[in-house]
Subunit: 300 residues, 2 copies
Amino acid sequence: MHYADRLHAAVRTKGNPCLVGLDPHPASIPAEFAAVHDAGASRAEKARAIGDFLCQVVELVADRAPAVKPQSAFFELYGADGVAAWERVVGAARAAGLVVIGDVKRGDIGSTAAAYAAAFLGGEPGADAATRCDAVTINPYLGTDSVRPFLDACEVNEAGLYVLVRTSNPSSAEFQATGEPPLARRVAAAVEAWGAELVGEGGWSDVGAVVGATHPEELAELRRLLPRTPFLLPGFGAQGAGAADVAAGFGEDGLGAIVNSSRGILYAYERRSETNWRDATRAALDEMAEQLAHAIAARH
Amino acid sequence: MHYADRLHAAVRTKGNPCLVGLDPHPASIPAEFAAVHDAGASRAEKARAIGDFLCQVVELVADRAPAVKPQSAFFELYGADGVAAWERVVGAARAAGLVVIGDVKRGDIGSTAAAYAAAFLGGEPGADAATRCDAVTINPYLGTDSVRPFLDACEVNEAGLYVLVRTSNPSSAEFQATGEPPLARRVAAAVEAWGAELVGEGGWSDVGAVVGATHPEELAELRRLLPRTPFLLPGFGAQGAGAADVAAGFGEDGLGAIVNSSRGILYAYERRSETNWRDATRAALDEMAEQLAHAIAARH
């Protein structure tokens, strides 16, 4: 089954398009995962504590959210120990039935891109398929031949991609919004073209675009221009975008977008009144799901 | 000491600007590293064999080349085992006095970029500083705030960066050569600006640019436009660029560029007459050094 169809089946089952970002910022991890905060702990102990925390998050959200997005940087921070934790968290999320989007933002020339595609989407020699991701984020700067190995891997492994188009950070306009037409618009057109060969039963492609929810007008315009490209929308919550901002990213069928929140869910305990982090995380996720349901319904 | 000064001291000591790319393509690794080619070997065994091979390469080139560039993708292919091999190879290269440029091409929003910068350039909690890189490659698509954490890490750790500007692959023009001025030109100007705060004693910045030697005219133009930005020039050898093509990337002082060859050195045994891979690798490196010396001398 196409990635897009699997993802949308999960969105329908869970009743919301929430993507829980697994960004283990060391400073924010609850105190009970003590090794992370212990200057005397070894790298392996710190990485294990992060894996423990995120495996518990996976358990907490598995019945509520369709998908999770581990952020590779915070694992790579602990070197080989961190990557072992990544594999454990990815494996736990897949075993729990969650769609796993590896936020790796890789991009390189052909033969190297093929190695990255194999590493994250399947095909790595001697590895356990249980730790593959369902989809990854990639960077388009190098052009089509850097994307091709990922497209091929998607076809073989029923996997998906999200190509950076218009990111959510303050500097994103610097290169992405310049040129005529602007770079992000040209990349967007390429994404729709790359995805033409990988369209699922529901009419959505396996090749998606990352579009910051912090740019609601561009988001609406891109939704019109890219009718079959699913969006991954970062920027909700901590980065300032609200449910109404992201609503424009969804298609007429109420699908075609997933909305990421990382700190807003994982570290909800830092700002909410619940007495423990688990309750705060669940409540924050439920609240986000409800806000999105209202906003999407209000639009259609 | 600034990264740029350390690199140039190594270039002067070794008498050449060769950057040996450590890209462990599984299919090309010499047969004596048997686990790589054994379908029955475990992932850990394969990764260890790749580490063994590259540690031997490091030993072979340490007295001849100033720098090596491990390519992360081919290590990540083996997951946590591969990253353990990466750390071993980086550690061996640094211990041998080689400048190590981690070819990771990362790029992400601020807090995530900070985690990548810490992972590769230093500051990772509980880690061994011996496995840090001297410099890394990064992708500029997300703009200045995605680069800032790397600049800060360079200042603290006396490290360097090479920002993708104009890559060597066939599709590189698709986005990089479009817009007015073209994207690569705008990124190049940003690179020169980012580097202004990190200029070493020799007048060269710690913030470099990746410019494919496969575009010799643009390379000459970028050298004129970016007088203090050092270049990392891929594309020599296997990708088609010759010594004369790269010569335009050097400054008046004969410095300011390093020239990468990966397959041309590592897998020289596949096309040369020497009877073992070690002799072929050494001979290919010596030949490249000589070609570059002639081409750079002919230019000045």
